[in-house]
Subunit: 545 residues, 2 copies
Amino acid sequence: MLISLLFRLCLAALFLARGVCAATEANPITAPASVEQWGLFEASLQGPTDGNPFLQVRFTAVFTNGARTVEVDGFHDGDGVYRVRFMPDTQGEWRFETRSNRWPLAGKRGSFVATAPSKGNHGPVGVRNTYHFGYADGTPFRQVGTTSYTWTHRPEEIQEQTLKTLAASPFNKLRMCVLPQAHGIELMPPKLWPFEGTPQQWDYTRFNPAFFQHLEKRVGQLRDLGIECDLILFHPYDNREDWGFETMDPETDDRYLRYVVARLAACRNIWWSMANEYDFLPTKTEADWDRFFQIVRQSDPYNHLRSIHNGDRLYNHNQPWVTHVSIQNGAALNDAGRAELYRDVYQKPIVYDEAKYEGDSLHRWGNLSAPEMVHRFWAGTVAGTYVGHSEFFGPPEGVVWLGQGGVLKGESPDRLGFLRRIMEEGPAAGIEPIDQWKDPYAWRSRPVGDGLAEPHIGGQAGEYYLVYFGRSAPKSWAIELYKSELSDGLRFQAEVIDTWAMTVTPVVGTFTLKRRDDHHFTDANGRAIALPGKPHVAIRLRRVP
Amino acid sequence: MLISLLFRLCLAALFLARGVCAATEANPITAPASVEQWGLFEASLQGPTDGNPFLQVRFTAVFTNGARTVEVDGFHDGDGVYRVRFMPDTQGEWRFETRSNRWPLAGKRGSFVATAPSKGNHGPVGVRNTYHFGYADGTPFRQVGTTSYTWTHRPEEIQEQTLKTLAASPFNKLRMCVLPQAHGIELMPPKLWPFEGTPQQWDYTRFNPAFFQHLEKRVGQLRDLGIECDLILFHPYDNREDWGFETMDPETDDRYLRYVVARLAACRNIWWSMANEYDFLPTKTEADWDRFFQIVRQSDPYNHLRSIHNGDRLYNHNQPWVTHVSIQNGAALNDAGRAELYRDVYQKPIVYDEAKYEGDSLHRWGNLSAPEMVHRFWAGTVAGTYVGHSEFFGPPEGVVWLGQGGVLKGESPDRLGFLRRIMEEGPAAGIEPIDQWKDPYAWRSRPVGDGLAEPHIGGQAGEYYLVYFGRSAPKSWAIELYKSELSDGLRFQAEVIDTWAMTVTPVVGTFTLKRRDDHHFTDANGRAIALPGKPHVAIRLRRVP
């Protein structure tokens, strides 16, 4: 009994002294003694190399914090190295124990301390207030996204350049693919492949750890830049190079998904996008996509955001495993009244990840002017939705941001940075369309004419209004706010925003509201707000306490 | 053996001679010897009057035609009269046999012949080509709907006037409620109630057959006018009179639904609308509505169209039991580019049953001008969707078409009749939006200005185009058609349509197409079509064979 107690004390001392969670046996498990909350904890150890470790070895770890227990998939990282990663969502001591069908990997125990998060670590992003996003620590996440599908597959210098570009950009979310795409590969052939073998000669049962180690490095660098990584798991862009990633059998698809999730789920900035243009992959059925969602949901203990992005046909985003709606639609951001319609359908956050791109492409999906790209962001914002940017400038096989990364050439990003600042100064709960389905273009049965000067309005009723005039160019606006949450005597201050020139001009004085009729309030003194008579102007109204 | 054979022959002769399906026992079952296909066959007989027949007697009949067997619910029609109704969908001999938990109603057999349908009988309406409707005989059904919620509860002369108005109107579908509504009842109290008892003192276990007999009479009269009856099963309009129809318990709700379906499902012009503004009924949960759909689906052997109509919150119309989408939205028909968005979400027919109403109401839901009402129909039509009309003119408690029927006072119905003729002259497969999500307002990144002269286009690619200019007033249009199904040399004839003046003006000559660029075809000779420079104009282009 005494000996047993002494032995335990010695063990405890050993743990503390080493500062790692060590096994009591010959084959030690290596892991740090602490990791910050929402940081990436990793434990590793040696294991079997015989047979096919990717197929034949099951390896997980059970993490415990008080009453909570989470079982997490580990993975084989090549050369008999097995790893398990974990993102603790709670500060304090976590214990863990490994499980495996092979003795060298089974029953290893350890513990670590999850410490306070460092500056800039707000945890993973989730859904907030039905239509919006927030970090786990409560900080709102105002999505201003961009897309660069396969920058991680390009020459090293382009990858580094891409990171520099992102660091200087306004974007806080990047859509990117796990798998390479054919576009641009003539000049820039991929160096790393996800499986052992060569194109069309893959051994689909053996992953290439170096491929995934590289991907993880890039995902981590995005995290350090404060950028969420919306990771696209499948895409239809093998099309000119029949690599064989579009025709894998279901077992391979599923194993690939589980491997990616086991490796990357502990990265706090991961979002899962089942596919880009999923319906352009005729080798998959709707049931395949449903199954992929299930696999990801079951394998990811952190419930990272899950979506799927369409080509021409919308997935049924009403299904409960879809956390938010990722949409391609080239016309839905024409105005806020149009953009808001999907909100009501899905009652989830709407992200227009593909609103067409700024660029000079001959294709209609890549020839938006910068003002139109910026307009679409504003229309989406006022509608209570979120928008994604990308650009396509240059020769068809050149380095374009959309496909390869590199540098940004367009004029929209600066303006999107300006919009992001406006969003960050806005209500923490997010911007909601004011007066749903009654936008003034539609409910007034008058001809358009100068009626187009009537704005779309988003905000938080009674507190904050963003009044956006879109493509019309009015010279003034007489305040007209829907009655919700308003009452006589409330005071607001106004600023005129030029969304292109990126200026915010305060309007002198304050406006005092007075009920005008059954629906609207206006300024009690009949004051109107002067406007510059050009398009893409907004007014910000904030309540004076 | 011989005696048995003789007996059978006698029986057979008896059947033929009587021309009815008779039972071999004391309690005969009465039924016609024939009914037309999709007509209403009804068999009736006397049964138990003891206890509560509505609760305690189960009565169905099994109808057989060749290998097909359909079991149909019967119902107690008061005073011990039991009926079972059936709509044969196949011509030829049908046999039936009754089933019941009570001997007098069990085991009654008979047969009848379903004959060819009479003129004007096209069978029930169902979904065709994903987004459209058609009658069972293959005739397209181009929905031009109106709403008069509770006309059947008003004084007899108003009901007769309503039928006369409908007979002279362009409408081929009417939304109406089973249950009375509070609006207007001060002047016009309902005479019939669905249950025995008095308001708030109902015996919910005993239906009032006279109430339903009256309803059926009106549904049959609509059928004879060629009008589909979109029957609203629940609504939130008890609100000023607490009759108790909004607070029935689940058993009562379900029994009410089964009774209505048993009585009315054999009417070929029935559509089931679970509710109007379902989300304004706080006494029901989402699960209640799901269950109601199941009850109706299981009880209705003909699979009549099923929908549910929203207030502010959309039901999940992606669920498989919803056959088409019934929408209230006051802004979605602002333009066709907006209206088409719901199609892609639901991949079912979209009916904007409530696009707000023509009228002079102080409420925003009832103050559309006639041109705006007509515009919304055209925007919806070109978007490949369908629209519903109603109107609200006059003093708040007066007879308004929306609530009570009577006469139509607005200027839109004539124009909707004109549109219906245009639709009926259009492609049998229905009108689809051309160039999905790329409507010119949106994909061209140019400022609006005269860009608003660019139309929305619906039709059948390569054959038929309806080019609608909405609120803009262009003086000409240079043909620009998306490339799908087009090739150089195809010829089209054009007509200019004034949707308000109801004129169709042929354009002299024909137009020969020529590819202009990667996306569009235009006229080979550079001809433009002259337009009158006023709003609400369309062009019809039909291919010359």
